[in-house]
């Protein structure tokens, strides 16, 4: 993997982890926010509970109190319960459903003077009032009993002769005769028959009930159209007990005490020890609430609070979390009620969501920025490394020699690549001087060897003038051999430089080879040379003298190894790849495979002592260099029939 790519992968992994860390961080924040919220709510619940400890009277009520629901829409007195729709679950039943009732007061600003009562009575046989009977209790009727502002008990009888508007009379204690014979107009109602009995909707002034707020309602069932005897009386209060039912309104006192503490997104709910809601403040925006339009809270939380335990809970409701903190309200040692402070986590969550969004946006931004920077940085690195590679490669040709010395571009930089460049530069410099040294070695050697050789040669010449010993001839031959060795070494060392100077022309290789073989036959009369293939018309780009030099090397090689009286063939062939191949084959010694590949490397000779001419294996090296200079190849292999060796020269055809 490349350096840049590796860097990219590592940083990407790190970057991917950033949002994960962010997410966990936000979760922590959420949980601590919720905890903070719980604590805040607990504190405010405690505060409220403490405040309410001073209002113990507000909770001092009877279990049989009639709960008056706060109502927020106007009620039309028509005997139908449509207006009461939202409270229809809240009817209180008495005596096995013989009747049920619901009381409400309207909280609309301009309609606070009435108390509304809706009664559903089960009665299969309704007896209406008949004027023939003067007694007011001679028909099915409803008794209303309340304490007026003077503390006196007042009794009202609601009767009707038929469906429709009711008649209300104030009666004496016996409930049979009216007090003043006047119809009580301020109490208005409608009587309507239903499948199972009848419904009565009544409205009466609230101020009559103040300040004692005590009201009892009784249903009186009369039997027999003629007998008209009272069969049954069902009442909201215990008949033997004179105490009337207290009316329980949601407390305006508590509400006003707590008003300032309320918030739109939190709700304060005060309940009494019978779990009846005494006050609800705020919470208009809450989706769910423990106190919402319910007179009794039946959560286990409330049970515990009413037992004196402080409570904090999170209640999941339709994807929202409602945090409820509850504190008991004491009267001395006794728990008389509780304060519930509810708030849902929507706000917290929405804040959290906003934060999360911010974090995500910021992360993405940083991500993009880092990614672009990394991309830029890695591209820049890759560019520099590539440039260095190219520059380094361009300094040296395919044979490892210096072409030119160029200052590598990053040498002046202080980073690692600069260091690498300097390292390369220094290395190449040393390599260059070493190569130069090596290149001068043959020349130097030649110079150093040939001078003493010259001295020896001249000494021998002088000696020969005085004597004619065989030793002198032997020494002269040795000098010639030495000279040949030196000159072939120099030839090999300088062949590359010399080749570069050569001129390239289009030459007819077929004609050249044909002529070459004919002429060589003349030169080597005792050898059998044979040319196979076209005699003209095959063109290559090259230098004819060099090609001949190459052929000379191949021919010398073949002549050295050919068995006497055997044929040496020069075969010209053109293949489909637009290459011309010259095969030089001789019969003779077989070359072990491991030597074949080394033959062109110079100083490797497979020559046996067949000739007395010294041999360093330089001939094939020079031939190989010439073939490469012509963009060709030189291959040597044993013949398939293992009868000798085949050297192949492959050259590209001229386009």
């Amino acid at each position: 993997m490349k350096l840049g790519a590796r860097l990219l992968v590592f940083s990407s992994i790190f970057l991917v982890m950033l949002p994960w860390f962010g997410y966990h961080f936000i979760e922590k924040i959420e949980s601590s926010l919720l905890q903070g919220q719980e604590e805040a709510q607990s504190m405010s619940a405690s505060a409220i509970a403490t405040v309410l400890n001073g209002y113990t009277g507000l909770f001092d009520i009877d279990e049989h109190a009639l709960y008056v629901y706060p109502f927020k829409q106007s009620i039309n007195i028509d005997g139908y319960d449509e207006d009461w729709e939202q409270l229809k679950e809240q009817f209180t039943s008495y005596a096995n459903n013989s009747f049920s009732l619901l009381l409400a007061n309207n909280e609309l600003v301009n309609d606070t003077q009435y108390l509304y009562v809706y009664l559903k009575i089960t009665d299969k046989n309704i007896i209406y009032r008949n004027p023939r009977y003067s007694s007011l209790d001679s028909s099915d009727h409803i008794r209303l009993e309340y304490i007026d502002e003077h503390g006196d008990r007042n009794r009202l009888v609601v009767v009707t002769a038929a469906q429709g508007s009711i008649s209300v009379y104030e009666v004496k204690e016996d409930w049979t005769s009216w007090k003043n014979g006047k119809h009580v107009n301020l109490v208005y109602g409608v009587w309507r028959e239903t499948g199972s009995g009848y419904d009565v909707e009544i409205r009466m002034p609230r101020k009559w009930l103040e300040p004692n707020r005590r009201l009892s309602i009784s249903i009186v069932d009369v039997f027999g159209e003629n007998e008209r005897n009272i069969e049954d009386i069902v009442s909201t209060h215990i008949l033997d007990n004179d105490t009337l039912n207290p009316l329980l309104f949601q407390s305006h006192e508590i509400s006003s005490v707590l008003k300032n503490l309320s918030e739109s997104d939190s709700q304060i709910c005060v309940i009494d020890k019978f779990r009846r809601v005494r006050a609800v403040i705020g919470g208009q925006t809450l989706h769910a609430s423990l106190c919402h339009a319910i007179d009794r809270v039946s959560e286990s939380l409330v049970n515990k609070v009413l037992l004196g335990e402080e409570q904090v809970r999170r209640i999941d409701d339709e994807g929202e979390t409602l945090i409820v903190a509850a504190r008991p309200v004491y009267d001395g040692e006794e728990v008389i009620g509780a304060v519930l402070v509810s708030k849902n986590s929507r706000q917290i969550l929405s804040r959290q969501r906003d934060t999360l969004n911010d974090v995500i946006l910021a992360t993405l931004g940083i991500f993009a920025l880092v990614f672009i920077s990394l991309l830029f940085f890695s591209s820049w690195l890759a560019f520099r490394i590539n440039r260095l590679t190219k520059q380094t490669a361009s300094l040296i040709d395919e044979k490892g020699r210096f072409i030119s010395h160029v200052e590598l571009s990053d040498c002046d930089r202080s980073d690692e690549i600069g260091e690498l460049s300097r390292g390369f530069s220094a290395l190449l410099g040393r390599l260059n001087s070493y190569t130069r040294f090596l290149e001068t070695v043959p020349r130097m050697l030649r110079h150093e060897i040939l001078n003493p050789v010259n001295t020896i040669s001249m000494s021998l010449q002088n000696i020969r003038q005085r004597s004619d010993s065989d030793d002198i001839a032997i020494a002269s031959d040795a000098i010639k051999q030495l000279q040949l060795i030196v000159s072939s070494l120099t030839e090999a060392a300088n062949i590359d430089e010399a080749l570069v100077q050569d001129e390239i022309d289009e030459i007819d290789i077929a004609a050249l080879l044909s002529e070459y073989v004919d002429n060589s036959q003349l030169k080597h009369a005792d050898a059998r040379l044979r040319h196979i293939g076209d005699k003209s018309g095959v063109f290559v780009q090259g230098n004819d003298i060099r090609i001949v030099q190459l052929l000379d090397k191949l021919k010398d090689n073949a002549l050295d190894f050919a068995l006497p009286e055997t044929e040496i063939s020069f075969e010209l062939d053109v293949n489909q790849d637009n290459k011309v191949i010259i095969h030089v084959k001789n019969e003779g010694e077989y070359i072990p495979q491991e030597q074949l590949d080394l033959l062109f490397q110079g100083m490797i000779s497979r020559r046996s002592a067949k000739t007395d001419i010294p041999h360093l294996g330089i001939g094939l090296y020079v031939a190989f260099q010439i073939a490469q200079f012509h963009h060709g190849q030189l291959k040597v292999a044993n013949r398939v029939d293992k009868q000798g060796v085949e050297v192949s020269l492959v050259l590209p055809l001229s386009v």
Binding site: H447, M458, E515, N519, D544
Partner: protein, 244 residues
């Protein structure tokens, strides 16, 4: 040129010729000197560039034999040659060196040297070459070139004066090049490389040396006649003079 004093070359002369040998190796130098003195030449032995130039300032020789590398002065011989050619362009200069690279040879011959011989030398051949150089020099200076003129088509060569004309234009060949050309035009058929080597009167010569000389000869002809094609390569054998 007024300062230049030189020995006049006379026919059947008895005036000894002066040969300067610039060679840093004392032993080799003394061998050359002994051989030349034995043939009645006056020899001035010099061992480096400074000494040579000082001596030549005093007096120019009739012929100079130069080694190229003079002690640590790797190209000293070339500089001495350049100096001599500036002083007198017609002075015969023979390089006698261990540097046998083609590039060195080309450079030496371009400087105007008459011959470039690589060590080891045959003292016999050296004497023969030097004698022929003096003859050539005498003939060219006396302007006697009407004799031994040899025409081969549009080529006109004078073997004694070693002058060569192609289509009436003179071509300046070194004595070695001239020997090769003379050998080629001598016969109608191809001449083998071995024969050409013999014609150059040099000791051990590689095939490639002849190739280099032929290339130079062709180039010099092409300078005066771009369409020159008369020296044919006979691959695997040698060369042939043929203008067909």
């Amino acid at each position: 040129m007024a300062r230049v004093r030189k020995y006049k070359l006379l026919k059947g002369n008895h005036v000894k010729q002066t040969i300067a040998i610039v060679e840093d190796d004392a032993q080799q130098r003394s061998y050359y000197a002994d051989a030349l003195r034995a043939h009645d030449y006056i020899v001035v032995e010099l061992e480096d560039r400074a000494q040579a130039i000082a001596a030549f300032d005093e007096k120019l020789p009739d012929l100079a034999i130069l080694d190229i590398a003079l002690k640590s002065d790797v190209g000293g011989g070339y500089e001495v040659c350049r100096y001599l050619k500036q002083r007198e362009a017609s002075l015969p200069v023979v390089f006698l060196t261990s540097r046998g690279d083609e590039l060195d040879k080309i450079y030496g011959l371009q400087l105007g040297a008459w011959d470039y011989q690589t060590k080891p030398v045959s003292l016999e051949y050296l004497i023969v070459r030097i004698e022929s150089f003096f003859q050539i020099k005498q003939l060219t200076s006396t302007g006697n070139n009407s004799e031994s003129s040899n025409r081969s088509g549009e080529l006109n060569i004078n073997e004694k004066s070693m002058q060569c004309f192609w289509r009436e234009k003179e071509i300046n060949l070194t004595p070695t090049e001239f020997s090769i050309l003379a050998k080629l035009v001598e016969v109608d058929e191809a001449v083998s490389v071995d024969e050409l080597i013999k014609a150059t009167h040099q000791g051990v010569v590689e095939d490639n040396t002849i190739n280099t000389h032929i290339l130079h000869i062709r180039k010099k002809f092409k300078k005066v006649d771009a369409a020159f094609q008369c020296i044919k390569t006979r691959y695997g054998f040698g060369y042939q003079w043929s203008c067909e």
